[in-house]
Amino acid sequence: MTQGSRLYFAVTLMCAFVSIHGVGLNDLLERASQLSDKLHSISTSLTNDLDSHFPPVGRVMMPRPSMCHTSSLQIPNDKDQALKVPEDELLSLARSLLLAWSDPLALLSAEASSLAHPERNTINSKTKELQDNIDSLGAGLEHVFNKMGSSSDNLSSLPFSSNSLGQDKTSRLVNFHFLLSCFRRDSHKIDSFLKVLRCRAAKKRPEMC
């Protein structure tokens, strides 16, 4: 018992030490981009699952993507712009987006179990996985931010005020699908920004990009 507790203590100490002095920025960004890649792939598969049995009428009712609640955020739209944006701004953008989705994802995971969809269980599990990944990525990006040593922390606030997806099951399904598609796009944005950041930071090791 004492040996086990001693080991545990040592491990936690080491972890704390490592986390404080930490790994290098490149490794952090590498890890962050991996997480974001995973986030994006989960959201893609979730969208595909939803699409498999999506009623045609839902497509008609689907709102346009510009109606996502994060659409107001000013982001670079193409590659040239994205390459010109400074790193800390990219990071803050990524962090803002990430922050904007913690509440909606909570709603989605709450509603996933009662969806009128045959793939409900898969959707439910994947939604939960999304939620976990977002939390870990948020924490990781905070480390990156601290590592980068930016002076100001200008995160945009993107509120999400709805607390229900709808009243009838069709609208719920449609809204669910819509939110998910918005999230998928935003996860791609996060992923792209982080990859750009990673490649920009790893100039000495171009093989990483």
Partner: protein, 617 residues
């Protein structure tokens, strides 16, 4: 309405206007976008449907920086002139519809959006309109990242990793480079690759897992087969694969030498081991039987005779019958003994004799009148059967001895002798010829008593055999009175003759001059001959030569001396004892009558009929 409120919380003041426009547009979409997807996530370039009106066939982006859209006129042939159909697009930022920035000149019905007009993470909607009639034939909405189909990778090549030990398989390492259009270095696009290979001209492609790097190994390829390999890529977490790269051929020639020998030696070794194991198993399982086959039990000596089990357990009458039928000590046993040859002579009675000697028969001569040779019984018997066979000799054989029968075609000396006063055969002193052979019948017992060996002293020039009489001793002295000159003559003459003294006595020497002269010429040498005779059978211990008869040469009357004696014993010095030392002097008489009964043991391999007679149960 609920959706509107849900989506546009911060725009409540313009909610009504927005709601109106949006509902209108949705209605419009619902009316017109029956077939095409509202949000073309992954729009493919599908083949134009000729049955339809003008429609979009697809939009694609190669590098996530520009994109193109294509359409077809469909069945409306009157709209083929350029400018009849126009493309308008609308992004979410601007609400007005803008026309296609660049209608590609080289390609028909293509609209190209360059970098300036391409916005990522922006949804686009494009319309295909005919402006004069103000009809929108088709519409498509998408976001750019969803229509990205990367270019194929470039620089596909392969290297040999290793070849298997058997030379049948090899591993190859494939390398390629990302498409130059995709900006992977800046991280703008993250690509994953998929390698496919197949045996050349096969129909089915083998697909490997997605690879995010730019190299991959293929394991387990067969040598001597040509493989086609190609690679394609897509954006990670998106579904749109780009085009395949050009195929390359992967081929490794088979090395024949190692192949051929290695498996065959292995097979040989395993085969031998398997056979050995089988043999061992077989031996162990069939141990008992194999032991009998390969190491047969030494057979117990098969003593011809009585079964020992029967001896142990059999009944008495069975044993008796068995023993009687065994004939082990019967005279039949005698028949098989080849070296035992018996000359049937009558010891006691000189009358009985066989006219021709055995040697004469051997020499193949027929002695007519000049025979001093004993005549034996016919050769059929070899002189043996009648010896110990108690039955009477075959009368026919005896009759053949008669002159009338002359089975041999020779003048039996018996005949001649009989003419000249044949001495009696021991029973009768008749000169009848006919009786002589018959008289041999009762002479059989006297034959038994006869000494069967006589020393051949010399051969006559005519081929006859001169026999020396036997050893002089007291026992035949009783016969000395009977014999006269003849004995003397014979004693003088015979030198190592192969007759007994009895027969010598019996021999009636006819007064024929020639050969007899030869015979009679011998007496001068008789002494030496006797001396020589004496050496024949006398043992070393016996200083006296029994055949040396100091008185023999001068004495006309000599008792018949047997030149052969029966070897009675062998003493300790391995000398032959002709007489048992207790009974007599060195001279051993020939009378089997005396000795044979006194003989305690059987002589060495010599059995006289007397012995046989004694032994017969």
């Amino acid at each position: 309405p609920q959706i509107m409120i849900f989506l546009f919380p911060p725009l409540r003041e313009t909610a009504e206007a927005m709601a109106y426009s949006l509902s209108l547009s949705l209605l419009y979409l619902g009316l017109l976008c029956g077939n095409g997807p509202v949000y073309a996530r992954g729009s493919e370039l599908f083949t134009p449907d000729p049955s339809r009106g003008p429609h979009f066939t697809g939009c694609r982006s190669r590098e996530q920086e520009t994109f193109r859209c294509w359409w077809s006129t469909g069945t409306f042939q009157n709209l083929t002139e350029p400018g009849a159909l126009r493309v308008f697009y609308q992004t979410k930022n601007a609400n007005e519809w803008q026309e296609c920035p660049d209608y590609t000149r080289t390609v028909k019905n293509e609209c190209y959006f360059n970098k300036t007009f391409t916005h990522i993470w922006t949804s686009y909607c494009i319309h295909l309109r005919s402006v004069p009639q103000n009809i929108t034939y088709d519409e498509a909405c998408f976001t750019v990242e969803n229509i990205v189909h990367p270019d194929p990778p470039i620089g596909l090549n392969w290297t040999l990793l290793n070849v298997s030990r058997s030379g049948l398989h090899f591993d190859a390492l494939l390398r390629w480079a990302p498409p130059p259009s995709a900006d992977v270095q800046m991280g703008w696009m993250s690509l994953v690759y998929q390698v496919q290979y197949r045996i050349r001209n096969a129909s089915h492609w083998e697909m490997l897992d997605l690879e995010s790097g730019t190299q991959q190994s293929i394991y387990g390829l067969h040598t001597d087969k040509e493989y086609e390999v190609r690679v394609r890529c897509k954006m990670s977490a998106f579904d749109n694969f780009g085009e395949f790269s050009d195929s390359i051929i992967v081929h490794v020639a088979q090395i024949p030498s190692k192949d051929s020998t290695f498996p065959t030696t292995l097979v040989l070794i395993f085969g031998v081991i398997g056979v050995a194991i089988l043999l061992v198993l077989l031996i162990f399982s069939q141990q008992q039987r194999l032991m009998v086959i390969f190491l047969p039990p030494i057979p117990a000596p098969k003593i011809k005779g009585i079964d020992p089990e029967l001896l142990k357990n059999g009944k008495l009458d069975q044993l008796n019958s068995l023993l009687s039928s065994q004939d082990m000590y019967k005279p039949d046993f005698y028949h098989e003994d080849p070296w035992v040859e018996f000359i049937q002579l009558d010891l006691d009675d000189p009358a009985e004799k066989n006219e021709s000697s055995d040697t004469q028969h051997l020499l193949g001569l027929s002695r007519s009148g000049s025979s001093h040779i004993l005549n034996f019984k016919s050769d059929d018997d070899s002189g043996r059967a009648s010896c110990y066979d108690p039955e009477l000799p075959n009368p026919e054989d005896l009759a053949s001895l008669l002159p009338g029968h002359s089975g041999r075609g020779e003048n039996h000396p018996l005949v001649s002798r009989s003419s000249s006063s044949i001495p009696d055969l021991g029973v009768q002193q008749t000169s009848e010829v006919e009786e002589t052979p018959i008289q041999t019948q009762p002479a059989v017992p006297s034959w038994v008593n006869m000494d069967f060996y006589a020393q051949v002293s010399d051969f006559t020039p005519a081929g006859g055999v001169v026999l020396s009489p036997g050893q002089l001793n007291s026992s035949p002295e009783k016969k000395k009175e009977e014999e006269n000159e003849k004995k003397i003559q014979f004693q003088l003459l015979s030198d190592g003759a192969y007759t007994s003294e009895n027969t010598a006595r019996q021999l009636d020497v006819p007064p024929s001059p020639g050969p007899e002269q030869g015979y009679q010429a011998f007496p001068t040498q008789a002494v030496e001959g006797n001396l020589w005779n004496g050496e024949y059978l006398v043992s070393a211990s016996d200083s006296q030569t029994p055949y040396l008869l100091p008185e023999a040469p001068p004495a006309p009357i000599l008792p018949p001396v047997s030149d052969y004696t029966v070897v009675q014993e062998v003493d300790a010095q391995h000398s032959l004892l002709l007489n048992p030392p207790s009974s007599q002097a060195a001279i051993s008489p020939h009378t089997p009558n005396k000795h044979l009964p006194a003989m305690p043991t059987m002589p060495m391999g010599y059995l006289t009929p007397d012995l046989l007679g004694n032994l017969n149960p």
